[in-house]
Symmetry: C2
Amino acid sequence: MPSRADTTVHRGRILDLALETHALPDGREAVFEMVRHPGGAGVLPVLEDGSVLLIRQFRPAAGGAILEIPAGSLEQGEEPEDCARRELREEAGMVAEQLQSLGWFYSSVGFCDERIHLYIARKLSRVERSLDPDEFIEPVVLSPEQTGELLARGEVRDAKTLIALQYWLLERDHERGA
Amino acid sequence: MPSRADTTVHRGRILDLALETHALPDGREAVFEMVRHPGGAGVLPVLEDGSVLLIRQFRPAAGGAILEIPAGSLEQGEEPEDCARRELREEAGMVAEQLQSLGWFYSSVGFCDERIHLYIARKLSRVERSLDPDEFIEPVVLSPEQTGELLARGEVRDAKTLIALQYWLLERDHERGA
């Protein structure tokens, strides 16, 4: 955990950056560059016919648009499941009767404490989308076969999206008795 | 791509932080907090008997030790495959005759350009490990069944490790005709 002598380099809109001193397992201390992030939630919507809904979203870090599941950062005091439902409504224009938790993961544990909570949403109904003014999002519906092909061609580039899609495909395999 | 008026907030040992102005798809501009990272490579070693080798590693961002595949950041000018082979030798004490590329992904594309290249290593031989002085790493060998249980219990918390293990399990399913 952070200790004395920590220096906050940047306090930002979606992240903070600090130089933190931590005790190593052998008792020595070392300074780590640490991105502190509130965490987030992502949700894979599975439609009635077994296809999934992804979004193609403009991302400066990727130099263009990439395929992702609906997702976003936790707002102050927000529970991960509420965040997933909010992003599902805002980005995909859907509400879900059923939300299955897939657990959470660290996106880049070497330098960042961001935890992303993942869900699969089923029994969906359409509502109006409500995008932020700087979000540019296009929905993309994919069959399991198309999803498998995209994965095989290495065209899914986003960590949370890969983890959710592979989880879903593994679950399908197991239901079919692999 | 970064444009005029970008401000570097921090130039660090493993990452830089900048406030960057990017054109949005509608032509307007917006400022983004952007962590710039050299990228990295991770490698899942699959042993002769079909088990995998993970490492338990101390990570300040996780507040303790977590399970990961051997991995690290690209050194200046280093190719991802060379990075994977280097980390395999340093962290797992192994060299591989066969390295299968699984592609690459963005760890957290909302605010960071880090790309992690993934590999599966097979036909392994043991060599001496050579850890950095602030790396505390313990090897853990897991059967496919143990790996499946860890995933099902949500005890794998690291993105690159989840993606590599899920990929490996899906490939196994497909080889067995799922």
